[in-house]
């Protein structure tokens, strides 16, 4: 994140402090403060600040998928929306999920979203009885230079077929 040139500066000299901030998990306005401690008797602490307004180009709603309690052996569906909030067309190059053995996705092939356009992706989960809890990721690959992949998590609690579910499948 930080690449300071070195710890000592001679009188009359300057030094460059390079700061890098990743924005992949940020959105909206934010401010990051970085503190330096120095041997300057008048300024033992100095503050550097970086602020920015991070614009989401691709938005996935919901941002987290909870299938809730679901029956083993049955098929359960959840739909998500992929939205292009940018000003240029966006290509979704690939969609995948893991664990892939129990998740099917429609569509999986490449598609293009015009600005402000959205498209539904259907997740189908077919849990096996041996797993009580399932945690997975849905990975959406894009042609965006700065955001080649975006992922969201999903979870489910698998119960035996005989028990009642607390949440209906969609």
């Amino acid at each position: 994140m930080l690449a300071p040139g070195g710890p000592d500066i001679n009188p009359g000299e300057s030094q460059q402090i390079t700061i890098q901030i990743a924005t992949i998990s940020r959105k909206g306005s934010f401010r990051k403060d970085i503190y330096l401690t120095t041997n300057d008797p008048d300024a033992a602490t100095a503050k550097l600040s970086i602020q920015a307004d991070v614009q989401e180009v691709i938005v996935i709603e919901p941002r987290y998928i909870n299938f809730g309690m679901i029956k083993a052996g049955a098929t359960h569906h959840k739909a998500i929306q992929v939205i292009n909030k940018g000003n240029d067309p966006l290509t979704i190059t690939h969609i995948s999920a893991n664990p892939e053995q129990i998740v099917q996705l429609v569509p999986q092939e490449e598609f293009i979203l015009a600005p402000k356009e959205h498209r539904e992706i259907l997740l189908t989960l077919t849990p096996v009885e041996s797993k009580k809890n399932i945690y997975g990721n849905l990975i959406i690959s894009t042609d965006l230079e700065y955001l080649p992949q975006k992922s969201i998590r999903f979870r489910a609690q698998v119960i035996p077929e005989s028990k009642e579910t607390s949440q209906n499948t969609e």
């Binding site: 500066i9 390079t18 041997n39 602490t45 550097l48 614009q55 180009v57 700065y146």
Partner: protein, 67 residues
């Protein structure tokens, strides 16, 4: 008399040396400590170079906290 003269000069030099050592100190100057990157697309890395200058008369040392 000449010896007293030398003693006074030496004493004066010693006082000047002590005073200069007492007040010599580093001074950190960061001209633009706040950088506004404006609107940027999610995923794009923000990178900025801050310049820190030592305007004092002793070596300035610094450490970055919490990173």
């Amino acid at each position: 008399m000449q010896r007293l003269h030398y003693i006074l000069i030496a004493a004066f030099a010693a006082v000047v040396l002590i005073i200069s050592n007492t007040y010599a100190a580093p001074k950190a100057l960061i001209e633009n400590p706040v950088f506004d990157a404006g609107q940027i697309p999610q995923g794009k890395k923000i990178e900025h170079d801050f310049i820190i200058t030592n305007t004092g008369d002793e070596v300035l040392t610094y450490k970055i906290k919490g990173c």
